[in-house]
């Protein structure tokens, strides 16, 4: 699997990627080799979906402008955004109007958003932005059949809504899960709703019939903070509790662009995008931050921030010595950017904390110190690799010195002895 940077063998890849074609990973999932046919397939699909989800032409055409209008986002802004998303998805320009159509359809696609063990940071991140971009608005307006934090019904009604959606839109609804799933004590660490079902049960049941399953945020994708050592609730990511293929959109919180982009791609071609070996869409997560960071020149030049607020920090030097985990992290923060596409950690002057990698709370800490200052995990040893190394080195050095001294003394003694005795056995060693 040429374009992957994480473990797992070929056959465990949920998408069965082919190593020969893998590098030319195609945002369109190789639906056809002929360009015309590709367009036709996509158009047919969009036509069918539009027929299904919109009552008439007027409904179809006014839907998005209405929604965007509420937030004062102009048509022009929206078109700019579709251009941005088209290129982020690495699709050719001809797809721009199709991305716009897909975004429109997306707002009507049945949609279930589950919250498991989490801080709802992704929800907050998407819904509470002051000046939302179309990505956030669309997420806000997807036809949410079930999303605890924004839906009107509560209690039994809410549950009924969920089960109804699952039944009615079998194989069609989009399932987004946020938060880790505690599996300890049969999942009883997390119970949800009037019936007190466990999150484990709800997640499994809802995932079974979903059209596409997305785990958003590091917790849903890999267990995140609830799963951090010692993981008292045995929390895991969604992919560990369902045998269906899960698209992971990790980060803390995930970038709305990555979620909406993935959904748009799903609408366009009806398939999950190509994933890397830990389930992340390649279009968003194939680049290492360190390789796409605007401070990389300073890294290469040996120009580092050594202290918060020092001269180097003012000059935007590299944050490697301040614990930047960009060298260990794959995401598109430096390209798609956060907060209304304005900034990302390194631009803001703080290193990456590696939030889109599995177990980042354990493996990327201490966040503000270089990786080499992390404690190594050897039972009974509480030291950094260097402290432990220096310790062993010193012990070995002391051992060698002791041996040298010992040899010296012993030799002297024996020298005296052999002078006195001067007797030796004659034992013929055979010659070569």
């Amino acid at each position: 699997m040429a374009s992957e940077h994480h473990s797992d063998s070929n056959d465990s890849n949920p998408n069965g990627n082919n190593p020969d074609t893998d590098f030319k990973w195609d945002p369109l999932r190789f639906i056809s080799k002929k360009p015309d046919e590709v367009l036709k397939k996509v158009d047919d699909r969009l036509d069918a979906l539009e027929k299904e989800y919109f009552s008439d032409k007027k409904d179809k055409e006014e839907n998005l402008p209405n929604i965007l209008g509420i937030y004062g986002v102009s048509r022009r802004d929206f078109l700019k955004w579709t251009a941005f998303l088209t290129s982020a998805l690495m699709l050719p320009y001809i797809f721009k109007p199709r991305v716009a159509r897909a975004a429109n359809i997306l707002t009507r696609t049945p949609f279930i958003w589950l919250d498991m063990a989490d801080c709802m940071g992704n929800t907050e991140g998407f819904l509470r932005t002051a000046h939302p971009t179309p990505a956030e608005i669309i997420l806000n307006y997807v036809s949410v059949n079930y999303m605890e934090s924004i839906m009107a019904p509560a209690g039994y009604q809410a549950e009924a809504r969920r089960t109804e959606t699952v039944k009615k839109y079998k194989g069609k609804y989009i399932l987004v899960v946020e938060g880790a799933i505690p599996t300890g004590m049969d999942g009883k660490f997390l119970t949800i709703g009037a019936k007190g079902d466990t999150g484990l049960k709800i997640a499994k049941e809802t995932a079974k019939h979903a059209g596409v399953i997305i785990a958003v945020g590091n917790c849903a994708a890999y267990g995140g903070i609830p799963a951090a050592n010692p993981n008292p609730t045995s929390a895991v990511g969604l992919s560990s509790v369902t045998d269906r293929s899960v698209i992971n959109i990790p980060a803390c919180p995930a970038n709305p662009v990555n979620l909406v982009g993935t959904l748009v791609e799903y609408i366009l071609i009806g398939k999950a995008p190509q994933l890397d070996s830990i389930g992340r869409p390649l279009w968003a997560y194939s680049g290492r931050l360190h390789d796409n960071c605007y401070r990389r020149g300073h890294f290469e030049a040996g120009e580092y921030v050594r202290e918060w607020g020092d001269e180097g920090a003012k000059k935007q030097y590299c944050l490697y010595m301040m614990g930047c985990k960009g060298p260990f992290t794959w995401n598109n923060c430096t390209i798609a950017e956060y907060n209304q596409d304005i900034s990302f950690p390194m631009r803001a002057g703080h290193g990456c904390i590696g939030c889109s990698q599995p177990a980042f709370w354990d493996r990327m800490t201490p966040f503000e110190k270089p990786n080499a200052d992390a404690k190594i995990i050897i039972p009974g040893v509480e030291a950094t690799a260097d402290e432990f190394g220096v310790g062993l080195f010193a012990a070995a050095g002391a051992g060698i010195a002791a041996h040298a001294i010992y040899t010296g003394i012993k030799k002297k003694k024996e020298h005296k002895k052999s002078k006195n005795e001067d007797s030796e056995k004659n034992d013929d060693n055979k010659k070569e």
């Binding site: 030049a301 040996g302 050594r306």
Partner: protein
């Protein structure tokens, strides 16, 4: 009273290292020292370049300050030399592996595979280090204790290569100048390190830690070769220089 000569037996010259092995030995030496220095720099960029006043008052920056960002690609050079050293180490490893089995003159497996009396012989050598008595005979082949230690050392190097390549392949996005097979091969052979050592940060820490083990080997190795030369008076230290050592056909106290 017997004379000195017959006490130790006749002195003979034994061939121990071919030219190729000697070249390997010293290239290895140079590459490893190089990789320790550059690797250490990558872990802790101890020389800071650039003209920021707060940063320039350390001694190293004062001396080595080379000016503007574009003139000072020190990390680039360190990484470049680390990779050059790595290539040399990789090649040497595979040549060593080949020679260990197929060398005409002194295949290592004759000494290191711990069968039969080899383990016992290694144990005798170890005892000899502490009692200074009963020196086992050392002749055409490496003594088993050394052979075992050299083998363990090469396993460390192998681990260093695997973790190193995992860090190296991290910046590839699917293909390379020589084709997609290269990153594919690296992923194929080293991705397991991510699982075993806990992600790329863990792999990096293992790489860093093995550096210390390698440094311990070097100190031990040089010490013991010097020790042997002094104690045995057989010129062991000359092996990687001239290829020969001396051997007495009688050992001192047997």
């Amino acid at each position: 009273m017997q004379n000195k000569n017959s006490k130790y037996g006749e002195i003979q010259l034994v061939h121990r290292m071919t030219v190729i092995k000697r070249i390997i030995h010293w290239s290895f030496f140079a590459a490893i020292i190089n990789n320790i220095i550059t690797g250490f720099y990558i872990a802790y960029p101890f020389l800071i370049f650039g003209k920021t006043p707060t940063q320039a008052d350390s001694l190293s920056t004062g001396i080595l300050n080379s000016g503007e960002t574009y003139q000072a690609f020190i990390m680039t050079w360190m990484r470049e030399f680390h990779f050059i050293g790595a290539v040399i180490i990789d090649v040497i490893f595979f040549v060593w592996l080949y020679l260990a089995f197929f060398s005409w003159k002194e295949p290592l497996y004759k000494s290191f595979i711990p069968f039969g009396d080899k383990l016992e012989e290694a144990w005798r050598m170890l005892k000899h280090y502490f009692t200074l008595k009963d020196k086992p005979k050392t002749d055409r082949y490496q003594d088993p204790l050394n052979a075992i230690i050299f083998t363990l050392f090469h396993l460390l190097i192998l681990l260093q290569m695997l973790t190193g390549f995992q860090m190296y392949v991290a910046s590839f996005t699917g293909t390379s100048a020589v084709g997609a097979w290269w990153p594919w091969l690296l992923h194929f052979s080293t991705d397991w390190t991510l699982v075993v050592f806990g992600g790329l940060t863990g792999v990096t820490l293992v790489h860093l830690f093995i550096m210390w083990l390698i440094m311990i080997f070097i100190v031990y190795h040089i010490y013991i070769e010097v020790w042997r030369s002094i104690m045995w008076k057989e010129g062991d230290i000359l092996i990687p220089f001239g290829g020969y050592k001396y051997m007495r056909n009688k050992s001192e106290s047997e």
